[in-house]
């Protein structure tokens, strides 16, 4: 309640003094109606923009450097673990490096335009493809694939959804403020979650842990 605010409040009080006296002359109820009208109008505008406009402003849409056809590769190579494998120290290799892709893609195999980009931009130049990873957790999170896939025997779909059968990579939505992928906070702004892979926030992990192991676990179980 600093001094400035106090002053404006007093300022408006003087204006109100004249208004009250003049208004008494023009009758009581008409002013109220207009105020309510404005109230409803402003409420509607803000409410709708909050629920519809705001999410699109908050999340930026980015395209992947090139499209990757999971379905085709799964047919060719077998399961997910042909490219996303466990190293022998139990750590998870995650997205394959250009080098491991080159085991098959020494030269252009198919005729798709995306593969041409891959060969020209990344294989020849020996660069890594800057994939935008949908399920990327922030730096403070330690996620052990070994604990979940090997020890708990979970399948990939339960967290990553049906990306394995997808032919096109959907655009990557990123929260402009936090830098998180939208898959983490959740696609639906209302926070309603149909499948487990629609959202992977801390609470979602906690719920599953609570169900499966009886407790949310110590902090350092998932943090680093």
């Amino acid at each position: 309640m600093n001094e400035l605010k106090r002053k404006t409040e007093n300022g408006s009080v003087e204006a109100e003094a004249e208004a009250v006296s003049s208004e008494q002359k023009a009758g009581e109820d008409s002013g109220l109606g207009l105020g309510v009208l404005f109230f409803i109008g402003a409420f509607a505008v803000c409410f709708l923009s909050g629920w519809l406009l705001f999410p699109s402003l908050l999340y930026s849409k980015k395209e992947q450097p090139l499209n990757f056809n999971h379905a085709l590769h799964v047919d060719e190579m077998g399961g997910c673990d042909s490219c996303h494998y466990f190293r022998d120290d139990g750590s998870f290799a995650g997205i394959p490096t250009t080098e491991s892709c080159m085991e098959c893609h020494e030269s252009q195999l198919g005729d798709t335009e995306d593969e041409a980009i891959f060969m020209k931009e990344y294989v020849e130049k020996g660069k890594e493809v800057p994939w935008l990873i949908y399920s990327e957790q922030p730096d403070c999170v330690f996620f052990s694939h070994a604990a979940h896939v090997i020890a708990a025997g979970m399948d990939c779909v339960s967290c990553h959804g049906h990306i394995g059968t997808s032919e096109k990579l959907r655009p990557y939505e990123e929260n402009r403020l936090t830098g998180y992928s939208r898959d983490i906070w959740g696609k639906n702004i209302w926070g309603i979650k149909k499948n487990p892979w629609d959202r992977m926030k801390m609470d979602d992990c906690a719920d599953c842990h609570e169900r499966e192991t009886g407790s949310k676990g110590a902090c350092f179980q998932c943090h680093k």
Binding site: F86, D88, D89, G90, S91, P138, D139, C140, F142, S144, A146, A147, I150, A151, T213, G214, S215, G217, A218, C219, F220, Q221, H223, K224
Partner: protein, 280 residues
């Protein structure tokens, strides 16, 4: 692994032999390098210097030539708190549960993304084992290359502390899961300072497991919150009932006495007692 994980909870602890420690500082640098601890141009204000592992230099206070010194490396004690129930001095005061006691490992965790920097835990810790990021950590251009992905670098305004290299425990667990094993062997999870110590003065392991070296060295008393039964072993500030998990060993009596506070004559009376015990 939870509080009631069918009884197989670890209780990781450390034993430091103060007669072997030469004060060389390898443990301090190994800890800073392992845990992405930043460094500033002027680190001479030791009350504003992030050193998770700090080596104190103790002296017996005698004049020349009877002076004696002893180096004491001090990591976080991962206190078990009164009665070893996990209410460590810091865990019991943190308002946002940014620091918590892991019952499955006995390690006090510190989550840098939840800590909002009220520093109450830093005031509650009698060992000064907690450090606050007064400054934004900055690495000279190019040096960010040597940062390890296993520990998230901190930001200004949060408290940080030694975590007994918990990321190494996570890696050992990953390997155990991959090899379908359930427990971690003693040499699979060792802290960076233990591994680096050239004098072999630091030993790390599970205090609940009798065949681990740390248990053999100090023989913690399970009915007495892990109080060491070996007369040469002691814990710092034992009388505050913080029940720290770091034990120190020394042949020198003045070093053992420096581990806690004793009023006039109390130490000698205590010694008479233990000597009496020692006889029969």
């Amino acid at each position: 692994m939870t509080k009631d994980n069918h009884g197989k909870a670890y209780k990781f602890g450390m034993v430091i032999d103060l007669d072997k420690c030469t004060g060389c500082g390898s443990c301090m640098v190994a800890c800073m390098s392992e845990n992405n601890v930043p460094f500033k141009e002027n680190e001479t204000d030791k009350k504003d210097s992030l050193t998770w592992m700090t080596v104190y230099k103790l002296t017996n206070g005698k004049p020349f030539p009877d002076t004696d010194i002893c180096y004491m490396p001090r990591p976080c004690m991962h206190c078990g708190g009164k009665g070893d129930h996990g209410h460590s001095p810091c865990v019991s005061v943190c308002p946002a549960t940014a620091t918590d006691y892991g019952y499955d490992t006995g390690i006090v965790s510190q989550i840098y993304t939840r800590c909002f920097g009220c520093r109450y835990c830093m005031v509650s810790c009698p060992y000064h084992a907690r450090y606050f990021n007064w400054w934004d950590p900055k690495w000279p251009p190019g040096m960010e290359e040597y940062l390890s992905p296993d520990v998230s670098p901190r930001m200004r305004g949060v408290v940080e502390k030694c975590t007994f290299c918990y990321h190494r425990y996570q890696e050992a667990r990953d390997r155990a899961y991959y090899e379908k094993r359930d427990t971690i062997a003693e040499d699979e999870y060792q802290t960076a300072c233990t591994q680096a110590c050239p004098a072999g003065a630091i030993t790390f392991g599970d205090l609940n497991n009798p065949d681990h070296e740390v248990y053999k060295l100090v023989k913690p008393d399970p009915h007495n919150c892990g109080r060491p039964r070996d007369p040469k072993a002691f814990r710092v500030l034992e009388r505050l009932q913080t029940n720290p998990k770091v034990y120190y060993i020394s042949e020198r009596e003045w070093v053992r006495k420096a581990g806690d506070n004793y009023r006039k004559g109390e130490w000698d009376k205590k010694n008479m007692l233990t000597k009496a015990d020692g006889q029969h």
